[in-house]
């Protein structure tokens, strides 16, 4: 435990010192590492003008070209699948062929992720366990902007959306990525990357409707500005109907949203690239909520409630090539999110600035380092059921990272060492190092392994929030309230992760990717009974039995994730994925928690998926996905099979028609249980039709 410091000013001084120390250290680096050798001497090479360079290269003979030395910023060319980590990339083709209409539904195809739909507009998504509506160990970024909410530590999936046709790819890394991405990238990172506006020229209109969708309308127009710039503007709106309860009745969990945005990309001669984007959104999501901890009978009520959400962001990114082996990126964004529901409301403003430098020191060594600062301010509107004190707070987050990749044996063995350093207002200074090694045994087999440390830093929910879980009449007639109470003593949850993976690509039509992990967690969040106290307000006076948030759970998770891709026929691609996951948690001797079991039973032991993409004659596509998800003991949710199929037709005149059948096998099934007052609905069988027109 730390000693309490006397003033806020002291904090600032430490931060300044830390920042200064990092700058000094990082400035020294170029002096420590020798710069790469530059063999070619030619007057044209320094020319600012690419065309002169190209003209020079064009008059070389092919023999001379073969002798020309080149360099590249390897990050730019590095295939993500070459990383020493468990990586999966959802491509634009997957987005089209799965027929998914939301980002979390797309994530189902990633082996190792656990996606459960809570109701029509809420999901629990996690990587490698601890699945929850607020899965706090998964970091989600959209074009470099964090959408992880630091109040509850988690992602509001019903707010995160864009025109899916404009998404280039979604990179998913399972396992800790904290050394590069920072705190809360404990069990995984989801990186949603939209296309450059140079790739989305022209118009696009999509219209969809279905049994559970009144309409889903998307529009985009992209064009060029002069020779070097392109832009696009887009708008999207949808109205989705409610899912069902277990007997098939309407669950009143409708969802609608409108959003619009733009992106501009400016690039001249590849030296400087600028990208600007912005968006605005507004929507409502209905839910069936149980409000607990009321002071008068019936003490808790279940009602239909509406979440009103709105917000927007602006982001600017500048990439500069100092030379072919040195590149910097500077990114700045502002994000506002506003959310109000029956028991709670929050407005948050975030400003984030990030600087990154990639530097190929020699052909066998690459250094990436960066600095970041994030300012985040939130205002909350609590109720007796959920309250935050103080209701407004400003937080500062400073970070720096450093990563060095060394090719130990040419084209055979690579070692990556790195660490992130962060200073946050909740747990102070955090170091999150990792060591990764990749061994290319032969052109067909690559083995990799990693050891990393990552932390999940405390959120306001852990330190400042009170949630009244239940109330009931006591012996003396006074009402008793059971409440989870955040404490300043709550510290970061810690992970030490061991990973081992294999990629096998024996021939052009088959590949397999196997990843395994052994995660050791320390100081996981627990709920500890504390001393009861009387509270006079709000009246009537009542006795509070607090459960204070502690760090008294340790444990481990382990598992294996397998993905195999098979090009069975030239027109037929098959993917098979299997995930085995185990969790074993222990309460400290000193703990009085009863909730550890909840973590153990909210992720399935086994998950299986089968995806088939078939190209048929007459420009038809027929795609099928089958998922098996094992039971969730925490909620008494049974295992289920889900079968989706889609028929797509590339009709003449740039029209595309899609017919998508969802959840064919049963009338409805449940994927998650009631939690934190949110009642879960069941996912019904559904049919959905889209038409899209490119002009």
């Amino acid at each position: 435990m730390s000693q309490k410091k006397s003033t806020r000013h002291y904090d600032t001084r430490i931060l300044l010192r830390l920042a200064a120390a990092f700058f000094m250290l990082l400035l020294l680096l170029p002096a420590i590492f020798p710069s790469g050798s530059h063999a070619i001497t030619s007057s044209t090479q320094n020319a600012e003008n690419d065309e002169a360079v190209i003209d020079y290269l064009k008059q070389l003979s092919i023999d001379e070209l073969l002798l020309t030395e080149i360099t590249s910023v390897s990050k730019k060319n590095e295939r993500l699948t070459d990383a020493a980590a468990a990586v999966f990339v959802i491509t634009a083709e997957d987005i089209r062929r799965t027929g998914a209409r939301s980002i979390p539904e797309l994530l189902r195809i990633v082996p190792g992720l656990q996606v459960a739909r809570i109701d029509a507009n809420k999901w629990a998504v996690t990587s490698r366990g601890f699945n929850n509506r607020f899965s706090n160990k998964l970091l989600v970024l959209m074009d470099g902007r964090s959408v992880y909410n630091p109040l509850f530590s988690g992602v509001y999936w019903n707010v995160q959306d864009t025109l899916l046709e404009d998404v280039d790819r979604i990179e998913v890394i399972r396992g800790p990525g904290a050394a590069l991405w920072g705190a809360n990238a404990v069990n995984g990172i989801v990186n949603i990357i939209t296309k450059s506006s140079k790739e989305t020229l022209g118009g696009l209109v999509t219209f969809g409707l279905g049994i559970h969708t009144d309409y889903n309308l998307g529009m985009r127009y992209g064009g060029t500005i002069g020779k070097d710039a392109a832009y696009r503007i887009y708008a999207k709106g949808f109205q989705q109907n409610a899912f069902e309860d277990e007997s098939g009745n309407d669950f009143t969990d409708e969802w609608d949203a409108f959003r619009g945005g733009f992106r501009v990309d400016i690039g001249k001669n590849g030296r400087d690239d600028f990208s600007f984007q912005g968006s605005l959104y507004d929507g409502t999501a209905d839910q069936r909520i149980t409000t607990t901890g009321l002071l008068t009978p019936p003490f808790s009520i279940t009602t239909k409630d509406t979440i009103y959400f709105s917000g927007g962001h602006v982001l600017g990114c500048w990439r500069h090539l100092f030379s072919n082996n040195s590149q910097t990126t500077m990114q700045l964004y502002y994000d506002r999110t506003d959310r109000k529901e029956g028991v709670f409301g929050e407005t948050r403003d975030t400003v984030d600035i990030d600087f990154q430098h990639q530097w190929e020191v020699t052909s066998r060594q690459e250094i990436v380092w960066g600095l970041g600062y994030r300012f985040s301010k939130n205002d909350t509107n609590g109720t007796f059921t959920i309250s935050v004190s103080p209701d407004s707070r400003e937080d500062h987050l400073f970070s720096a990272f450093f990563q060095d990749t060394i090719e130990l044996f040419s084209n055979r063995l690579w070692l990556t060492l790195g660490s992130k350093f962060e200073d946050n207002d909740y747990s102070g200074f955090e170091v999150q190092p990792s060591a990764r090694i990749r061994w290319r045994y032969n052109p067909h087999i690559t083995l990799w392994s990693a050891i990393s440390r990552a932390v999940r830093t405390p959120s306001r929910a852990d330190q400042d929030m009170r949630v009244n879980l239940a109330s009931f009449p006591g012996n003396d007639g006074a009402v008793n309230v059971m409440a989870i109470v955040g404490t300043d003593d709550f510290d970061s949850e810690e992970l030490t992760a061991f990973e081992l993976g294999l990629r096998w690509h024996p021939c052009s039509w088959f590949s397999a990717d196997i990843a395994s992990f052994y995660n050791l967690y320390d100081r996981l969040r627990s709920i500890e009974p504390a001393t009861p106290f009387f509270e006079a307000l709000p009246s009537p006076p009542h006795l509070v039995f607090p459960l204070s948030i502690g760090n008294k759970i340790d444990g481990k998770t382990y598992g294996v994730e397998v993905l195999a891709d098979l090009q069975a026929l030239p027109q037929w691609k098959l993917s098979i994925g299997y995930t085995w996951f185990q969790v074993d948690l222990d309460l400290n001797a000193a703990s009085g928690d009863r909730s550890a079991l909840e973590y153990e039973g909210n992720s399935p032991d086994h998950q299986l998926q089968l995806r088939s993409y078939v190209n048929l004659p007459f420009r038809l596509e027929w795609d099928t996905m089958l998922f098996f998800v094992d039971q969730l003991n925490t909620f008494d949710v049974s295992e289920y099979w889900r079968l989706d199929t889609r028929i797509g037709w590339q009709a003449p005149h740039n029209v595309m028609v899609n017919l998508h059948f969802e959840n064919i096998l049963d009338d409805r099934h449940s994927e998650y249980g009631n939690q934190s007052g949110i009642n879960a609905s069941e996912m019904p069988r559904s049919v959905y039709l889209t038409l899209s027109y490119r002009l």
Binding site: S2, K4, S6, T7, R8, T12, A19, A20, F23, L27, P30, A39, Q45, N46, D50, V53, I54, L57, I62, L65, L66, T68, E69, I70, T71, S72, N77, R79, V89, T91, R96, R169, G267, F322, S323, N324, M330, F355, H357, W359, S363, L371, Y373, P390, S392, E394, H396, D425, G428, F429, R440, P443, D464, D488, D491, H505, S508, P570, Q571, R619
Partner: protein, 205 residues
């Protein structure tokens, strides 16, 4: 490993009005540091070598001089020579600049960027660059390549094993050419002896 520093109760009580100002003060060294570093880089990191994709773009064009396509690869004399890029375009504007005002055997050159597999199957080209085969999975690509004598060119290790014809691999800071001669022959392509001498022939199957 960790210094717990936060005095939460103080902050809670203070809810300080001057926090906005203090946050700006904290930002100042950050900006100063970044500005300083930017200037340091500008001085130290001069452009000394050739951009990998400048060289590769020129290679791509040069390769057309050493390969003879079968007659039936072109509909008629006016058919342009089509060069395609599948998936992400790593060249930026470079390839366009390289090909500007150039011809292949008297044919003008057209550059196509394929966003998806369907477009490629519908409108195959004569020479296709695939930068990231993993991102551009295209069932039927190999068949269509054989039918239309489409020379697939990649730049990742193992590209030929995956069915590609020519691979521009980076080795010791230079580009080396690997050719799948068996497959090239099967497609009816004639590759000049000069190019074969300069490149590595990789035997697949």
């Amino acid at each position: 490993m960790k210094v717990k520093r936060v005095n939460h109760s103080m902050r809670a009580k203070g809810k300080a009005t001057h926090q906005g100002i203090s946050s700006l003060l904290i930002l100042r060294p950050l900006f100063a540091g970044i500005a300083l570093m930017l200037s340091v880089f500008a001085m130290t990191a001069a452009a000394d070598t050739f951009n990998e994709y400048h060289v590769k773009a020129v290679f791509l064009f040069n390769l057309t001089h050493f390969i003879t396509w079968p007659e039936d690869a072109f509909a008629d004399e006016k058919t342009p020579f089509l060069i395609g890029i599948a998936g992400e375009n790593p060249f930026g504007d470079t390839l366009r600049i390289v090909l500007e005002k150039e011809q292949v055997n008297g044919r003008r050159i057209a550059l196509i960027t394929y966003g998806n597999c369907r477009d490629l199957l519908d409108r195959p080209c004569h020479m296709l660059f695939i930068s990231k085969p993993d991102y551009f999975s295209c069932p039927g690509l190999q068949n269509i390549a054989r039918q239309h004598a489409m020379v697939t060119i990649g730049d990742v290790p193992g590209f030929l094993e995956q069915g590609g014809i020519i691979n521009l691999v980076k080795e010791n800071r230079r580009i080396q050419i690997e050719i799948n001669q068996v497959e090239a022959k099967r497609m009816g392509l004639e590759i000049s002896a000069q190019l074969l001498n300069l490149s590595r022939t990789v035997k697949i199957k």
